[in-house]
């Protein structure tokens, strides 16, 4: 366990400014701050921009820093591209749902048959500074998956906001080293501050529970059985009817990891690009000659759910959904992952 610190608001501003000299820093930016529910986006920090605390998760998934939507994955036969460490990066604004979702990305790209070196280097060179949620979006439902709205693991440093500063908790050597590097800004923690954090956390959990109670969401332990037993239900066809195959749910999802490789000729060499792919796209599973195991939107919608709630439960012991609700917000067809699962549960119950 690492020692926990405290940083006062004024000192935090200095710390935030100082980081920019040595790191590439990304932090939340509020878009349309006057809107009903303010959205936050990651922004590269420069100049004397001040730190904005995001009370809930950002719009973009964390994965976009590690497997960008489009990047050059390789050059071949006369390569110029080399895999080197990228510039040291610090990302502020990460929430617990992002950290849980990121376990899926780590599992895919750091484990298995071979390691994706480019992903590993980016991961090694990035410091994740997460923070407790102080509020939630209408679509947030982390608690339904037994995920708390505050991080307990997976971060390098976690910030818990109090009225006059932040509790600063290192979660890794990387995080601890960063604090040591800037130790003049940090104070020892006091028990009263930790107690205040506990109260804040408990209050938010209570508020979120009250928000979720009327939604009557399915329990985490039931999801694998739901998608297995519900394979032939008409739920899929029914919810598919408004799907426009935009792939938005896939791209915005912090656990979706599928990509395709596409080659192109460059002057003296050949390049291989890696692009996000979406299982909602018609050609996702198509093979040469035209055979396609996922011919219909119904099949593809179901494929997305069996991947999240069956495949990953089998292979990683956890469903690949962190309750961030990004896919609900993005979907022009208003397909709601909570409602799909509830519909399966309802139909399976009535057929019994």
């Amino acid at each position: 366990m690492f020692k926990i610190y405290y940083i006062e608001t004024a000192q935090f501003s200095l710390f935030f400014q100082a980081l920019k000299d040595n790191y590439r820093v990304f932090a939340p930016l509020a878009k349309d701050p006057a809107g009903q529910e303010v959205d936050y986006f990651y922004q590269g920090v420069s100049g004397d921009a001040s730190f904005i605390f995001n009370p809930y998760r950002l719009v973009e998934p964390l994965k976009s820093f590690f497997t960008p939507a489009l990047e050059k994955a390789a050059e071949y036969f006369n390569p110029r591209l080399t895999l080197n460490g990228t510039f040291k990066t610090i990302i502020f604004g990460v929430k617990n749902c992002d950290l849980i979702g990121h376990k899926i990305q780590d599992f895919v790209f750091l484990e298995g048959v071979e390691v994706d070196t480019s992903y590993r280097l980016k991961r090694e060179n990035t410091i994740l500074i997460s923070s407790d949620c102080a509020d939630f979006k209408a679509v947030c439902h982390c608690l339904a998956w037994d995920i708390q709205p505050y991080p307990t693991a997976g971060f390098d440093i976690n910030l818990s906001p109090l009225s006059d500063g932040y509790i600063v908790e290192p979660g890794s050597e990387k995080g601890e080293n960063l604090i040591q590097e800037y130790q003049e800004y940090f104070l020892p923690i006091r028990e009263a501050q930790l107690a205040a954090r506990r109260v804040k956390r408990e209050n938010l959990v209570k508020r979120l529970q009250q928000h979720l109670l009327p939604q009557d969401l399915v329990p985490k332990s039931s999801v694998q059985k739901l998608v297995r037993d519900g394979y032939n239900l008409d739920t899929w066809r029914q919810f598919m009817s408004t799907c426009v195959e935009c792939g938005g749910c896939n791209f915005i999802c912090d656990t979706c990891h599928c990509f395709l490789l596409a080659d192109k000729k460059e002057e003296q060499r050949n390049a291989r690009l890696r692009l996000w792919d979406a299982c909602l796209y018609a050609n996702y599973a198509r093979v040469a000659g035209g055979a396609n195991p996922l011919k219909t939107r119904t099949q593809r919608l179901r494929f997305r759910y069996t991947k999240k709630f069956d495949f990953f439960v089998d292979n990683l012991g956890m469903p690949a959904c962190c309750g961030c609700g990004r896919c609900i917000e993005v979907c022009p067809g208003k397909i709601d992952i909570r409602e799909v699962l509830k519909d399966l549960a309802k139909k399976l119950k009535s057929s019994r």
């Binding site: 070196t117 280097l121 990509f259 792919d277």
Partner: protein
């Protein structure tokens, strides 16, 4: 540092025309390359793209690699238009390959359809090189017409080998064909095998595999003894890109050969 998406170079040394739509490409890899029979590679046409293929050559041959390819899609059409001497890219080998140890002391029934005989040829070479370890090899091969038979000149040669029983059939006969006419399922009767001490290896188009599998199960072969090659969209080859998932498996890293007892509870495997 290894880049898992980067292919290495191989030279296309020779092209053998097998049928009007199928060619065997002989490659000389510029790096040491070894594979186990049943494993596959990702073959790159530079600047165009890559596609998965299971080599058709003897894994015992280290300096050459043969891949038998049917013209079916974008990459294969361009491959078919290539001339000798050009460079291609190779990644791999990927997948688990055939578990030859499990075949020892057994009757090995091999059922092939069309270009599906390509990976099976690699298996046959592996079996032939240690034939004493196996009871016998029974090959049943079906092609649409006699013009669609691959490795046509090799078949009589294989049929003469010790411990080998070979029968080829065509769906549609013609005057040049004196052999059996009928779907490959029609030559699976009265097989000279001890079903209790056999393995069955099937490779061909999905529709053929589906019906062969049904027939084989009907004859009393056990699901765990039936090895099926799944054709899915294997893109990265490493279980990362997601495309080739069936149930809780990836075809690329957990297959592409699966026993039927693993597949039987997965929906829509033949689609």
């Amino acid at each position: 540092m290894k880049n898992i998406y980067q292919p290495f170079e191989a030279i296309l040394e020779d092209i053998i025309v097998e049928t009007p739509t199928i060619k065997t490409f002989v490659f000389r890899p510029k790096l040491d390359f070894e594979f186990r029979t049943g494993q596959f590679i990702e073959l790159t046409v530079p600047g165009i793209g890559e596609a998965p293929f299971t080599p058709s050559s003897d894994p015992g041959i280290k300096d050459r690699l043969e891949v038998t390819i049917m013209k079916a899609g974008k990459v294969t059409s361009i491959l078919h238009a290539l001339n000798k001497g050009v460079s291609v890219g190779i990644r791999g080998p990927y997948g688990k390959g055939y578990p030859l140890d499990n075949f020892e002391g057994k009757d090995i029934l091999i059922v092939g359809g069309g270009v599906g005989l390509a990976p099976l040829r690699s298996l046959l070479f592996s079996l032939f090189s240690n034939i004493d370890r196996y009871n016998k090899v029974i090959l049943r091969y079906g092609a649409r017409t006699s013009a669609d038979i691959v490795f046509k000149s090799s078949l009589p040669e294989w049929a003469k080998r010790k411990k080998v029983d070979l029968l080829a059939t065509v769906d549609v006969g013609d005057p040049s064909w004196t052999g059996h006419v009928g779907l490959v399922t029609t030559v699976l009767k009265d097989l000279p095998v001890d079903i209790k001490n056999s393995v069955v290896i099937v490779c061909g188009p999905p529709i053929m595999m589906k019906f062969v599998n049904l027939k084989i199960l009907d004859l009393g072969f056990r699901p765990q003894d039936i090895y099926l090659s799944m054709e899915k969209n294997m893109s990265c080859g490493l279980g990362k890109c997601g495309h080739c998932r069936i149930g809780s498996y990836y075809t690329c890293k957990d297959g592409p050969v699966f026993t039927y007892d693993v597949l039987k509870d997965i929906h829509d495997i033949w689609d």
